[in-house]
Symmetry: C2
Subunit: 220 residues, 2 copies
DNA sequence: AACTATTTATGATTTAAATCATCTTTTAAA
DNA sequence: TTTAAAAGATGATTTAAATCATAAATAGTT
């Protein structure tokens, strides 16, 4: 692993953090944490894939972020009541490094460049979250979600187009903020236009440039 | 003013920051900064009111945040390309304190508790931004926006219900992420139910508890 | 006060997406 | 290897919100 901590804390602090960290292993479908629980530390994904979800009022959930190797999760509840405002669910069997809050706080206070890096990390998360405010038609939202899946998961080994991990249609819909049937129809449409290629459950992104332009708001 | 800087930097650093800061005065409707511009520093609102907007693809803009006295603005573009990802527009004549990026960075590196406080500030902004992901019906979104206006602007002096500042209907619609006509109709509906009271342009929040419950996803 | 311009309001119609209803395909289990 | 369960796909219908059209009300200007 080569996380923000390794990069910005001194060797001594890295040892100290590692000594107090522990490995957490979760199975596909398991919660890593759930909305409302008290925050006891920070998780860094060592190997695996995770979805971060939030509740829309009463009923439906929405995926607000995907995370993979090296990504930090569980930082959103920092400050305030120190409770998770979102849930994290493993998309496959996942290993995480858990750093107790006390240790993390000590490291931030002692390593000013780490504190600065964490601040910038949060700023980037904030910018990323602005995507959620864009209320474009379904087609654009779906393109945006597919592109994000590519950014986070990349392409499969030996392929120039196939997503290395495919969310279920239900999860893709949840991330796009639309209903399942609507997502399926939109995928079919993009497939017909050869922007993507549907291969059973799997999805190929055949025209990344077109996808980018659609996600930026290209009409029709 | 009593901002995060005063509270978390040493006296010496406060003097240093103040020495290098300058006052910026903008008139109602003026841009404080615009999407795409290079970031040269951080603004703190000394006295006034500001809306932060983002572009939805080609056409419409959406208000993603309101800010008033003591609030920090312009931090969203930190990191990455160091360009503003949003625009800030004064809702009334506004005085701001501008801190050059170089000075701010020095202060963050030198004052670890300030760096920590900034990190927590960003975390709170991030949590706040999750509101944008909730895709509730118009009625709930409008309630959410009215409540946020109350949180940021408060009630007028001598009134227990009247918002101290009233956004235009167009701006309220932009914040709720709905069309103008839809917003007006929804306000009329909430008015009929006596949750709010419309007094010309001005809005009274008569039943804050009901408003809270609607914004949390109460149906019908 | 009279005249614009802007902001607020409301009715009628259209439309994109949700919902409802099936059906097929794939995966998992007995 | 048959059966059950889950995931994926598509057509038909409904609906909430957008759009179109127009009218009041308010504010600003000469």
């Amino acid at each position: 692993m080569n996380s923000i901590i390794q990069n910005y804390c001194s060797d001594g602090w890295n040892e100290y953090i590692e000594f107090h960290s522990k490995i957490v292993q979760v199975k596909k479908g398991d919660f890593i944490f759930e909305t409302g629980q008290a925050i006891e530390g920070l998780h860094i994904i060592h190997a695996g894939k995770v979805k971060i979800t939030t509740k829309n009022g009463n009923d439906t959930e929405r995926i607000i972020r995907l995370a993979a190797d090296g990504d930090i999760i569980g930082h959103r509840g920092f400050g305030g009541s120190w409770k998770y405002s979102v849930s994290a669910i493993a998309l496959e069997n996942t290993d995480l490094i858990f750093i107790p809050l006390k240790i993390f706080n000590e490291a931030v206070i002692a390593n000013s460049s780490f504190a600065y890096a964490m601040m910038i990390f949060f700023a980037e998360e904030l910018r990323e979250s602005e995507r959620l405010a864009s209320q474009l038609p379904v087609r654009n939202m779906v393109a945006s979600v597919l592109y994000n899946n590519y950014e986070v998961f990349g392409f499969a080994k030996g392929s120039e187009t196939k997503l290395s991990f495919t969310l279920s249609r239900t999860d893709l819909a949840s991330q796009a903020g639309v209903r399942y049937e609507t997502l399926v129809r939109t995928l079919a449409e993009l497939n017909t236009e050869k922007v993507i290629k549907i291969e059973g459950k799997f999805i190929h992104l055949c025209d990344i440039e077109k996808l980018k332009s659609i996600k930026e708001g290209e009409l029709n």
